[in-house]
Amino acid sequence: MASPACFSSFSVPVKEKKLMEVKLGELPGWILMRDFTPKGIAGAFQRGYYRYYNKYINVKKGGVAGISMVLAAYVLFNYCRSYKELKHERLRKYH
C-alpha cells in the first residue's frame, strides 16, 4: 500500500484507493490499512506538498494566489497557536 516518493515533476500516480472511492462501511478498515510508520507519514507529507506545488506553483502562468494561500495558512496557524493569549483582548465586559 506504500506509494513511491519520487514524483516531484509529474502528477501523483494513483496506486491505492483514494479516500473518495472508499465505501463508508470500509472506512475503519481503510484507515487501519494506512501506513503509519515514520516513512509512511513522511511519504504522506511529501505527497501533499507536491500535490499543492504542482497544482498552484509549478505551472506556466502561476500567480500570486499560490504563495498567498500558504502565507494565509501560516497566519491562521499562528492565530490558533496564540489564541489563549488573544482571548483576553476581546471587547467584552467580562473576560
Binding site: 506553483i57 502561476g62 499560490g66 504563495i67 500558504v70 501560516y74 497566519v75 499562528n78 497557536r81 496564540s82
Partner: protein, 226 residues
C-alpha cells in the same frame, strides 16, 4: 497590557512541544529547488534576485573569499525571509531571540578570524595596530583594538535582535494606541493610523536592510582576513 506586550516574543510551544523548530524551518518551503532550465515564475524570480545579490556581494572578494559565497547567500536569504515573515499578523520571528542571533554571529565571525590567523598570521596580527601611531600610545591602542575585535560578534547579534524587536514593539504599541483612541477622538486616531502605515513600510525596509547589513559585515570581516 504589560504582559500582553511581550507575550508574542516568548518561544512558541504547543502542548509542551517546541514548535519553534517548525517555525524556523518554515521559510525553506518558500524557496523550491530549480529543476529545469526554465522554471516556474516563483523560482525564476528568486533566481534573478539571488543572482543580483550575489554579484553585488561577492564583487569585493578574491578567490579565497568567494568560497564563502554559498554561506553568505543562504545567510541573507534566511535572515531576510525570516524578518519579512515576522511582519505577518500574529507570527513569531525567530530573529527576535538573542540566542539565535548569537548562534549565527559567533560561529561566522570566529570562522573569519580563524581563517585570517591560519593563512595570513602576520597580517591578521598587524590589524591590532593602525599605521602611524605614536610610540607611547601603542599598548593602549592594542588593548582597544582587541576589545573592538571581540565586540564584533556581540554587536552583530545585538544589532539584529534590537532592531527587529524594537520594530515589532513599536507596531504593537502604536496599533494599540490607535484602537484606544478611536472612541476618544477620531482625528487623532486617524493620525495615529497614518503613523502606523508609515511604520509598517519602515519595518519592511528594516527587515531587508538588517539582513543585508548582517551579511555585509560578515563578508567585510571575511575580506579583512582572506
Amino acid at each position: 497590557m504589560n504582559e500582553n506586550l511581550f507575550a508574542s516574543f516568548a518561544a512558541p510551544s504547543m502542548m509542551g512541544l517546541p514548535i519553534v523548530v517548525l517555525i524556523v524551518m518554515f521559510p525553506s518551503i518558500l524557496f523550491p529547488t530549480p529543476n529545469r532550465l526554465i522554471n516556474n515564475r516563483l523560482i525564476s524570480i528568486q533566481q534573478w534576485l539571488i543572482q543580483l545579490t550575489s554579484k553585488q556581494m561577492l564583487a569585493i572578494h578574491n578567490q579565497k573569499g568567494r568560497t564563502w559565497a554559498l554561506m553568505l547567500m543562504s545567510l541573507i536569504l534566511f535572515i531576510g525571509s525570516t524578518n519579512l515573515l515576522g511582519l505577518l499578523p500574529h507570527s513569531f520571528t525567530p530573529t527576535t531571540q538573542l540566542s539565535m542571533n548569537l548562534g549565527m554571529a559567533i560561529p561566522l565571525w570566529a570562522g573569519t578570524v580563524i581563517t585570517g590567523f591560519r593563512y595570513k598570521t602576520k597580517a591578521s596580527l598587524a590589524h591590532f595596530l593602525p599605521q602611524g601611531t605614536p610610540l607611547p600610545l601603542i599598548p593602549m591602542l592594542v588593548v582597544i583594538e582587541t576589545i573592538s575585535l571581540f565586540i564584533q560578534p556581540m554587536a552583530l547579534a545585538v544589532r539584529l535582535t534590537a532592531n527587529i524587536t524594537a520594530g515589532h514593539l513599536l507596531i504593537h504599541l502604536i496599533g494599540g494606541a490607535t484602537l484606544a483612541l478611536i472612541n476618544i477622538s477620531a482625528t487623532t486616531a486617524f493620525i495615529t493610523f497614518i503613523i502606523l502605515i508609515l511604520l509598517t513600510i519602515l519595518e519592511f525596509a528594516v527587515a531587508l536592510i538588517q539582513a543585508y547589513v548582517f551579511t555585509l559585515l560578515v563578508s567585510l570581516y571575511l575580506h579583512d582576513n582572506t
